[in-house]
C-alpha cells in the first residue's frame, strides 16, 4: 500500500497534516502523537514581528464546533526560527510554515527569512484569517487583491507556496483561479467561516472580538463542497480541511479532490486524531483494495 502524495513537488509520506493554529509547532501534541507519523506539520501563523492577538474571551463553543478569535498571536519570525524550526527538524515529517501579515511587506519579510531555512518544505500563506482587521482578510476576499499578493510572494519565495483561501466568499473558484494564475503552487481550503455567538442571559457577545472563525464538524459539508468546486476549477493541488475528525471525513475530502488533508480543531477534541486518521485511511485502503492513495483523489462519481 502506498500512501504517499506529491504536493507541488514535495512528497509527503501520507496526506495527513495539521491545521495551522491548532497544533502550535507540534510541541504540545508531541506528548500525544509521534510527529514522525505525520505527512506534515503546518505551524501556527507567524508574522515578521510578535503579535499579541485579541483580548479574551477568544474561544467559544458552538453546536458541533467552536469559534475562535485568537487574532494570530505569535512570537514573530525570529523566535520562531530559533526555537520552533529546530524543534520540528528533529522529526521525520515535512515542515510547512504558515505565514501571516498586515501588509505585503510583512509577508515578504517572513517569506525571505524562511527562504534561508532549507528545512522548511513549503509556505502556507494565510490571507484568510477572519479575526485580524488589518491586512490578512482583505487579501483573501477579493480576487484581484489575492492575485496581487500571491504573485508578489511567489517572486520572493524559495519554497512552494500554498495559498490558504477564505470560505467567506461568493465564489471560491474565482479566488482559486486567481491564486493559480498568480503562481500559487497549491491551495489550502477552507479557513474558518465567520460566525458569532451571543450569551442570551448576559446579552453579550461570547467573544471579545464579537465575531470569530468557526471550525469543527459543523462546517464540513461547506468545506467539502468548496474543495470539490475548486478541484473542478484549478489544476494545482488542494489541501482539504474543515471539520475533519476521523478517517471517513478525510477520505471524503480526498474523494472530493483534495491531495492532502488537515486535521484542525478536532485535535482539541481528540489529541490523537491525526494518527487515527492516518491509520483509518490505511484501513479503508485495505478494505477496498486501494493500492495507491492517489487513486482516491477526486474519485467521487455521480
Amino acid at each position: 500500500m502506498n500512501t504517499e502524495v506529491n504536493l507541488a513537488g514535495i512528497t509527503l509520506k501520507n496526506p495527513v497534516m495539521t491545521g495551522s493554529g491548532t497544533f502550535g509547532s507540534g510541541m504540545e501534541y508531541g506528548e500525544f502523537v509521534d510527529l514522525n507519523c505525520l505527512g506534515a506539520v503546518v505551524t501556527k501563523g507567524v508574522a515578521n514581528v510578535p503579535w499579541p492577538g485579541n483580548p479574551t474571551p477568544r474561544v467559544a463553543e458552538v453546536y458541533g464546533g467552536m469559534l475562535n478569535a485568537i487574532g494570530l498571536q505569535n512570537p514573530g519570525i525570529d523566535v520562531f526560527m530559533e526555537r520552533d524550526i529546530p524543534f520540528l527538524k528533529q522529526y521525520d515529517t515535512k515542515i510547512i510554515v504558515n505565514v501571516c501579515g498586515k501588509s505585503v511587506e510583512d509577508y515578504l519579510e517572513v517569506v525571505d527569512k524562511l527562504g534561508e531555512e532549507p528545512a522548511v518544505a513549503m509556505l502556507e500563506i494565510n490571507v484568510s484569517c477572519p479575526n485580524v482587521k488589518e491586512g490578512a482578510i482583505a487579501f483573501g476576499q477579493k480576487a484581484d487583491a489575492l492575485y496581487n499578493i500571491t504573485s508578489q510572494i511567489k517572486k520572493h519565495a524559495k519554497q512552494p507556496i500554498i495559498m490558504k483561501l477564505s470560505p467567506n466568499v461568493t465564489d471560491i473558484t474565482e479566488m482559486a483561479r486567481a491564486a493559480e494564475a498568480a503562481g500559487a503552487d497549491a491551495l489550502s481550503l477552507i479557513n474558518t467561516i465567520t460566525g458569532m455567538k451571543i450569551d442570551i442571559h448576559r446579552r453579550k457577545f461570547a467573544l471579545a472580538n464579537k465575531t470569530g472563525g468557526m471550525s469543527g464538524p459543523a462546517i464540513k459539508p461547506i468545506a467539502v463542497r468548496m474543495v470539490y468546486q475548486t478541484a473542478q476549477a484549478v489544476k494545482i493541488p488542494i489541501i482539504g480541511m474543515g471539520g475533519i475528525a476521523d478517517a471517513e471525513d478525510a477520505i471524503e475530502f480526498l474523494l472530493a479532490g483534495a491531495t492532502a488533508v488537515s486535521v484542525g480543531a478536532m485535535n482539541f477534541v481528540n489529541p490523537y486524531a491525526t494518527v487515527e486518521v492516518i491509520k483509518g485511511i490505511e484501513d479503508y485502503m485495505s478494505k477496498y483494495n486501494v493500492e495507491k492513495l492517489t487513486d482516491l483523489i477526486g474519485a467521487v462519481r455521480e
Binding site: G24, G53, V59, I70, Q73, P75, P217, N267, P271
Partner: protein, 256 residues
C-alpha cells in the same frame, strides 16, 4: 505525560444545589498535583470540547481523582447524570498546580470562593505549613467545609451572612485578625483581584488560580491567555497560557 483516556465513575453525589461531587478512577491520579485540572468530555456530539475542571482531591492510593463542579451548561449538566460504573473521557493532567515549596513551613492563607473552593482541598492536604483556610460561599450551602477541617483552621464567609462572616473571604480575613506569609487562592475574578491588591499592600506572595474559556487545554490553541506583566517566555508577548503556564500564577505576574 498528558493523555486522553477513559475514566470510570466511582461515585457521584450532589453536595449543594447544582454542585456535584464526582470520583473518577484514572491512572492520571498517580501524578496529579493540587491546582492542576482535567478536561472532561461530554458525550453529546453538539458539545465537543473538554470542560476544564479542577482536581479537588486525590485518593490515598492515588488511583482516583475527585472533582467538584457546578452545573453551568449542557456539558456539566450531562456530567451530573453520570453514575457509578459509567465511563467518561478525560484529558489530563493539565496545568502547573500550586507551588508547595513557596509556603512550606510558613504561615499560609488558603482561600477558595464559590466553585473555587474545591481545588483548595488537595492543596490543604499536601501543603506542609501553618494553614488558615478561608472559604467563601453564596449562602449556607457550605459544600466541602467539613473536608477542610482536619487540615487547618477554617474560616467561612457567606454573602448572605447565613454562616461565618457576612461578606467575602477578604472580610473573613479582616475578621480573623490573622496575617500570612503566603496566599494560595482560587475563586471568582473580583476575589482574585482583591487578593492581588492585598498581597501587594502586605508585600507577600499570592498564588492565584485563573479561569478562562479554553479549547485545547494543552497550550496549542492560545485561546485561554492572561495578560502578563513581563513578556512571556513562550509567547514572546505579554500573554501567558492559563492552561499550561497556569492556571496558577503569582498574582504580581498577571494583569487581571
Amino acid at each position: 505525560m498528558k493523555e486522553k483516556s477513559m475514566a470510570c465513575v466511582l461515585s457521584q453525589a450532589e453536595l449543594a444545589p447544582g454542585i456535584f461531587d464526582l470520583w473518577l478512577q484514572t491512572g492520571m491520579a498517580a501524578n496529579a498535583k493540587p491546582g492542576q485540572f482535567i478536561g472532561v468530555y461530554p458525550k453529546n456530539a453538539s458539545t465537543l470540547l473538554p470542560r476544564p475542571i479542577s482536581i479537588c482531591e486525590v485518593n490515598e492510593d492515588k488511583t482516583a481523582l475527585r472533582i467538584v463542579y457546578r452545573v453551568a451548561g449542557a456539558g456539566t449538566a450531562e456530567f451530573s447524570g453520570l453514575k457509578e460504573g459509567d465511563r467518561v473521557a478525560i484529558l489530563g493532567t493539565l496545568g502547573n498546580g500550586f507551588p508547595l515549596e513557596a509556603g512550606k513551613g510558613k504561615k499560609c492563607f488558603l482561600m477558595g470562593g464559590g466553585i473555587g473552593v474545591p481545588p483548595i482541598l488537595q492543596l490543604s492536604k499536601e501543603l506542609a505549613a501553618e494553614k488558615s483556610i478561608f472559604l467563601g460561599y453564596r449562602d449556607g450551602a457550605l459544600f466541602l467545609k467539613e473536608d477542610f477541617e482536619k487540615y487547618g483552621n477554617v474560616f467561612v464567609a457567606t454573602e448572605d451572612g447565613s454562616n461565618g462572616t457576612k461578606g467575602n473571604v477578604m472580610d473573613a480575613i479582616a475578621a480573623s485578625g490573622l496575617e500570612a506569609d503566603v496566599i494560595y487562592a482560587c475563586g471568582p475574578m473580583p476575589m482574585l483581584r482583591a487578593i492581588k491588591r492585598y498581597a501587594q499592600e502586605k508585600g507577600i506572595q499570592a498564588y492565584i488560580s485563573l479561569e478562562e474559556h479554553m479549547a485545547c487545554g494543552v497550550g496549542a490553541c492560545l485561546g485561554c491567555v492572561v495578560k502578563t506583566k513581563e513578556v512571556d517566555h513562550h509567547s514572546h508577548v505579554h500573554n501567558a497560557r492559563i492552561c499550561t503556564d497556569g492556571p496558577v500564577f503569582e498574582a504580581k505576574e498577571v494583569e487581571i
